[in-house]
Amino acid sequence: MHIHHDSILTLELPYRERLALRRTVFHGGDGPKVFVLAGVHGDELEGLYVCHRLAAWLEDLASTHPEAFLGQVELFPAMNPLGLDTLQRLVPVYETDLNRNFPGHAQGPLPQRIAEAAMRHLHDTALVIDIHASNIFLREIPQVRINQTFAGTLVPLARRMNVDLIWVHGAVTVLEATIAHSLNSRGVACLVVEMGVGMRVTPAFTEQLVIGILNLWRDLGVLAADLEIPAPSRMPLLANDHNVHYLNAETSGLFIPAVEHWISVHTGKLLGRIVSPYGGNILSKVRSPVDGILFTRREYPLVYEGSLMARIMSTDAAGEDPHGFPRPLGEGQGEGVR
């Protein structure tokens, strides 16, 4: 196994610095090539730790079972290096979301050049995984998000990722300028992972996802079929535009949650309160509109009216599974599904 570090793009910054889009390449054999991307948003760190854990696992494999590594893995832990180093979600100076700049342009401003370089580089691959945390406002259970247009190809891959949820979005809600949409539109399979919360790392989620990625790599032929890897422990729920319910704040104030994240809830269950810091009054009570599973919960307390506080997948529809999913683990078991 050969391991090396280099950059696929280098740009001069105005004063004595360079911006480099760095990667770590693990080369085993002529088998399939796969990519893992993280840090597209500078405030999302979960994917950086996943890259570290994958790198550590591959380095260990190089010393113990190098013959079991049949393909090539490229890790890009910092797609937005300026944003990560300055704790900004967007691309500094340009104040633009890197994930709204794809497929980019080689002669465009810096964000579009990063996008173009990535698009030019990410080809001849069996799979790209783009790992996002949530933003600083919301905590998410490990999940894969897929555009309905590409569901036929991507859902079978996502099922093996050891995530808790697969969310298939209708085409109208999909942003076309993302890296995932741009790659999938060109026939390059790209899975988008969301998990955890912005500006934090959730090690338990990382270990869960790493197991899924390694199993999927083995299924794709990147790793030898007889290589022993911990088995996936999750059977993902299947969410779609019809069974996901959004709870947006009715008024502005301070949101105080009343429940833990990732629990089963019943209709009318109190999920939290929006209170006034100026008095003892409760401005709004947030209750579940359905029986289901709370898979998104607000982390950042201040809310404007409209701010998302929770997402619930209704469980009465969970069995209507067009892709042949078995019943989800934990359904109907009350609180503390995971």
């Binding site: 105005p14 933003n135 810091p277 201040l302």
Partner: protein, 285 residues
């Protein structure tokens, strides 16, 4: 002044606030034109121009502008991102989202989705729709009309603004979540006007934009052409932009743009904006 509340919002710790708009002219029927500015809170030129235009059209509607008559209904939203405007922030400051990447919006969604939805609802029925912007903090734009995959009617009407440039661009993946793209679903004529740079006012650009909008509104369906033209000439005598009107160049139509970007160097302009450049001549150093 026919100022109305577009959206009333609460704030976590401050007083409630409103996003307002002007509904001027004919009381019934769909608006002939809808104009929007301040989707980005640090782009001040459009906010100033539309505030001034609203006042001007209100005077016309009330018969205070001799010889002028407002025959149609106009919707004007001078500032959408008022929280960004008050903090000089391009984005919605609370969650750093770009309101002009939230269209078509959603009335039960996130705050900026709700704002986008409301703005679209009040503007979508207009026959003509105009979205005003400055450039970013980094560049200055010559006042211009931008068209995205235009219809022949949009291409023809864009020239009525009389601005120095009409730039055509193909619809791209970024554009699909802007108000300009959302408008296109409803037909009519849709225009993005850009002038100057963000973070401050450039009054000459504002004059040119204001003039361009008034010229556009002289379309016969909005005003009696002859009366308007006489009035306009009287106005020109006392205003600085009369000279511009006399020497107004024909609009420049571009089917594509070449982007130049440099890193690692401090840039200085070596020619004035709007001056002519020959191939190979130095415009930046």
């Amino acid at each position: 002044m026919t100022q109305r509340i577009l959206l009333h919002m609460t704030a976590p710790l401050r007083e409630d606030f409103d996003i307002s708009y002007h509904d001027i002219g004919a009381e019934f029927g769909p608006p002939r034109i809808a104009l929007v500015a301040g989707l980005h809170g640090n782009e001040l030129n459009g906010v100033f121009v539309l505030s001034r235009l609203a006042a001007f059209l209100q005077e016309v509607a009330e018969g205070q502008q001799a010889g002028l008559q407002l025959r149609e209904r106009a919707i004007i939203i001078p500032a959408v991102n008022i929280l960004g405007l008050n903090t000089l922030n391009r984005h919605w400051p609370f969650d750093n989202t770009d309101i002009n990447r939230m269209f078509p919006g959603y009335d039960a969604g996130e705050t900026t989705q709700r704002i986008a939805h409301t703005v679209l609802e009040v503007t979508r029925l207009a026959h003509y729709r105009v979205d005003l912007h400055s450039a970013s903090l980094d560049f200055e734009e010559l006042p211009q009309v931008r068209l995205y995959d235009p219809t022949e009617d949009e291409r023809a009407k864009a020239r009525l603004f009389g601005l120095p440039a009409v730039i055509e661009r193909p619809t791209n993946t970024i554009f699909t979540v802007t108000i300009g793209h959302a408008w296109k679903a409803y037909g009519g004529g849709n225009f993005v006007l850009r002038a100057g740079y963000a973070g401050n006012l450039q009054l000459p650009h504002c004059e040119q934009l204001f003039h361009a909008l008034v010229v556009f509104l002289r379309e016969p369906a909005s005003y009696r052409e002859r009366q308007w033209w006489r009035s306009l000439r009287r106005m020109c005598i006392i205003s600085a932009w009369s000279r511009w009107l006399a020497s107004s160049p024909k609009p420049l139509a571009c089917s594509s743009q070449t982007w130049r970007w440099a890193a690692g160097n401090k840039l200085e302009t070596s020619s004035d904006m709007s001056s002519m450049a020959s191939m190979g001549s130095s415009v930046l150093k």
